[in-house]
């Protein structure tokens, strides 16, 4: 057992379609930039953990092709796939590998080229049971629109309130050089954008992105020798819920995330998340989900999520900025997204987030989401070891 810290991160620029490089080359970009960032060479790396979700890339088991580019030649190599939660599950698996004491330096790499599939939603639909669920035509967007409607019914949330989340995240993305959609929007523009699935409009939904990300984790001794400001991992949890959506207590889905968050807070000793967490990077592909996630994570009480964004709390200058990178609403390389959250949270803790740096970050939370709002992964990183 040993303490673990993030000592470097690397991201590619996320775009709609990376035509100039192949899958393995894309992966190589992120890995190289990560190793440069940590001032390490591939020879210093003991093991690789690789995450990608199958179905989108036009290649099954992409890890086999990309293993060499990820630095996996002749090294221990572990392939993770937990649907949308893949990215952060990859980070958590790497964390366990270093914490076990068996490895001192482990590289977590995740990649996705959603552009290789003509329609991401039709691929996501293959996850549904072919007998009971597939024919109703549900998509990942349904998982944003149903809870959005439920939230409107329960708490009177308005379209304009949800639009504010989009305005905030798009503004943040303009400050993040790696973000996919980098333009500002107004509430009016959000409300007038094309209806995708009621009540969600185009600017309330994430894009589909190509890109890769790498995060290098090190044991305490190595971490201290590399940098005087690593991002220490305080703890992580993951959570599985039932598959069948009808079995959930509420489509507003706060149960599984709330339970996961409580378990994590207990583990890392957080009593008041609103006060003790300085910044959060959440897997929020729809405006509706970000609002409900902030409630489930205990940043406010149930139904008050819109207040946080209305009162400026979750804005970059606010008390508890949420998705300062622009978040998933502006960049979504599905299987890599969770690891991007971890990379961004680490950058915030290390004070190296650049223009979207939040002042004085001591504790950062990151989150991954997968399945039918079924898998929740959470990790807390801090400036001091716990």
């Amino acid at each position: 057992m040993q303490r673990v810290a993030v000592v470097g991160v690397g991201q590619t620029h996320f775009v709609s379609h990376r035509k100039d490089v192949m899958h393995s080359e894309l992966c190589f970009e992120a890995v190289n930039s990560c190793l440069r960032d940590a001032n390490l060479s591939i020879d210093d790396v003991n093991a690789i953990v690789f995450g990608v979700m199958d179905g989108f890339d036009g290649v099954d088991c992409l890890d086999r092709w990309c293993a060499g580019a990820a630095g996996g030649y002749g090294r221990p190599f572990m392939r993770i796939n937990t649907a949308g939660a893949t990215g952060l599950s990859t980070g958590i698996a790497a964390y366990h590998q270093v914490a076990s004491g068996l490895s001192d330096v482990v590289l977590a790499v995740a990649e996705q080229r959603v552009s290789e599939s003509l329609d991401a939603q039709s691929i996501l639909n293959t996850a549904a049971c072919p007998i009971y669920d597939r024919n109703i035509g549900g998509t990942a967007i349904t998982l944003g629109s149903l809870p959005a409607t439920r939230h409107m019914g329960l708490y009177g949330t308005t379209h304009a309130q949800r639009a504010l989340v989009s305005v905030k995240n798009h503004r943040n993305a303009c400050l993040n050089p790696f973000a996919h959609l980098r333009f500002e929007v107004t509430v009016e523009q959000v409300l007038q954008s094309r209806l995708i699935e009621w009540p969600l409009r185009l600017l309330e939904c994430c894009p589909r992105s190509d890109g890769a990300v790498a995060v290098v984790l090190a044991g305490e001794h190595v971490a201290r020798s590399l940098t005087d400001r690593p991002a220490w991992i305080h703890g992580a949890v993951s959570m599985a819920d039932t598959f069948f959506y009808g079995d959930r207590p509420d489509v507003a889905y706060r149960d599984n995330l709330a339970v996961a968050a409580r378990r994590l807070y207990r583990k890392v000793g957080i009593c008041d998340p609103r006060k003790e967490i300085d910044v959060a990077e959440l897997y929020s592909p729809f405006t509706s989900l970000e609002i409900m996630q902030t409630e489930a994570l205990g940043f406010c009480s149930e139904g008050q999520g819109v207040r946080l964004v209305e009162e400026g709390v979750t804005w970059l200058e606010g008390d508890l900025p949420v998705n300062p990178s622009g978040g998933v609403l502006c960049t979504n390389p599905i299987g890599a997204t969770g690891l991007v959250r971890m990379a961004e949270a680490a950058l915030q803790v290390m004070g190296r987030a650049g223009e979207h740096q939040v002042n004085g970050v001591k504790t950062a939370l990151c989150h991954g989401l997968g399945g039918v709002l079924q898998f929740q992964t959470l990790m807390v990183l801090g400036a001091e070891p716990r």
Binding site: D54, D63, W65, R79, I80, M239, A240, F375
Partner: protein, 376 residues
């Protein structure tokens, strides 16, 4: 280093396409393994799944298997590889201090789709996929190249098939029991030239679950636990043109790592049983050599009398020739190894087995390998 124990296992396999949904198999083996371990679901901290998506024709297939295996409101992770890799990650999860008890579950319902056809989709679409290569062709190329290198005849290969089938007949969890003769093998149709169909491991439906626990938990249960003594896993090149096909370098690396951890310096004498991932009968021989159980090429002399091979018992269960339930095949090797050192393997029990080794491989030309050594 802290110790990790295996406290329960369960296997399920069927040669006929199963009428169960693939996730029901996860329920069957998870319940049975927990029962065998003498603990209930509430004691499990985390679920480690080892499964492929496309082999059941959908993306994110663990969305079904995790809850079906009892993973509800608890930690979960899915290793998208053979089940033995999930066992490796589970072992690390316990060593990290995060978990006390974990359940490793692997399902492989090969009858859902055409496995060999699907394998082509993991080839890069530019350089290799247009060649029409399949996993079976890649494995046959390796086997052939090994045969040529060590002058192994087709009769010797056929004898190896007879040996494995004979062993499988003793294994209640094998899915292929039919006996076979050397001449039947030699007259069987070619699957991929120059290999005939019985020389390949036949795909089947199956599942496996393994319960692991930290030392304090294992000791509290009051039964002699089986300890994980060493693990190793490694990855080699992806492109077949980049490697010597007659070797399994990833497996050599994985073995080196596992032996180092288990403090094994003389594998032929210190390992009693090896359960190997024999996608073809020749891979059984290649793997035994890569693991250092026999000198390279030296196993040749034992092919004439396959049942009286000295040294460690190789695949007493019949190995994958007795059935290959896709991603579950590697985890079943671990369950078999545990059964051997517990002395509960049944009719194929090896006398006095104290240390056993499970091994699996995946990818093109068996690009990736995992090894786990267990002992009393």
């Amino acid at each position: 280093m802290d110790k990790v124990a295996i406290i329960g296992t369960a296997q399920w396999a069927s040669a006929q396409p199963t009428s169960h949904a693939f996730y029901e198999l996860a329920t069957i083996v998870a319940e049975q393994a927990l029962h065998n371990a003498g603990i209930d679901r509430g004691a499990v901290d985390a679920w480690f799944m080892g499964e492929y998506d496309l082999s059941v024709g959908r993306t994110a297939s663990h969305m079904y298997t995790v809850p079906a295996a009892g993973g509800f409101y608890q930690d979960e992770i899915r290793i998208h590889d053979d089940g033995l890799f999930a066992a490796v990650q589970a072992f690390l999860g316990i060593l990290s201090g995060e978990y006390e008890v974990v359940l490793v579950v692997s399902t492989g319902v090969a009858s859902e789709t055409c496995q060999d056809r699907l394998s082509t989709y993991s080839l890069d679409p530019f350089f290799v996929r247009p060649l029409g290569l399949t996993e079976a062709i890649a494995n046959a190329m390796q086997a052939h190249s090994y045969r040529i290198r060590h002058s192994i005849t087709n009769i010797e290969g056929a004898q190896r098939v007879v040996k494995s089938r004979t062993q499988a007949q003793l294994n209640a969890n094998a899915s292929v029991w039919a006996p076979i003769t050397v001449s039947e093998v030699l007259n069987a149709p070619y699957a991929v030239y120059p290999l005939r169909s019985p020389e390949f491991a036949p795909y089947c439906d199956g599942a496996c679950a393994v319960v692991m626990a930290s030392e304090p938990v294992a000791r509290r249960l009051g039964r002699p636990p089986i300890w994980i003594r060493g693990i190793g896993w490694a990855n080699d090149t992806y492109h077949l043109g980049d490697k010597d096909l007659a070797h399994l370098p990833a497996l050599e690396k994985a073995a080196e790592m596992a032996y180092h951890m288990a403090d094994i310096t003389d594998p032929p004498r210190q390992v009693d049983v090896a359960e190997l991932y024999d996608v073809t009968v020749y891979h059984e021989i290649m793997a035994s050599e890569a693991l250092g159980l026999f000198e390279k090429g030296a196993m040749h002399q034992w092919l004439q009398e396959p049942l009286s091979t000295p040294g460690p018992a190789i695949n007493p269960s019949g190995g994958l020739i007795g059935g290959r339930p896709a991603a579950a095949a590697g985890l079943i090797r671990l369950a078999e190894s545990v059964g051997q050192v517990m002395g509960r393997a049944g009719r194929h029990q090896v006398d006095g087995a104290r240390t056993a080794m499970a091994q699996s491989m995946s990818g093109w030309g068996n690009q990736r390998a995992a090894v786990m050594i267990v002992g009393r």
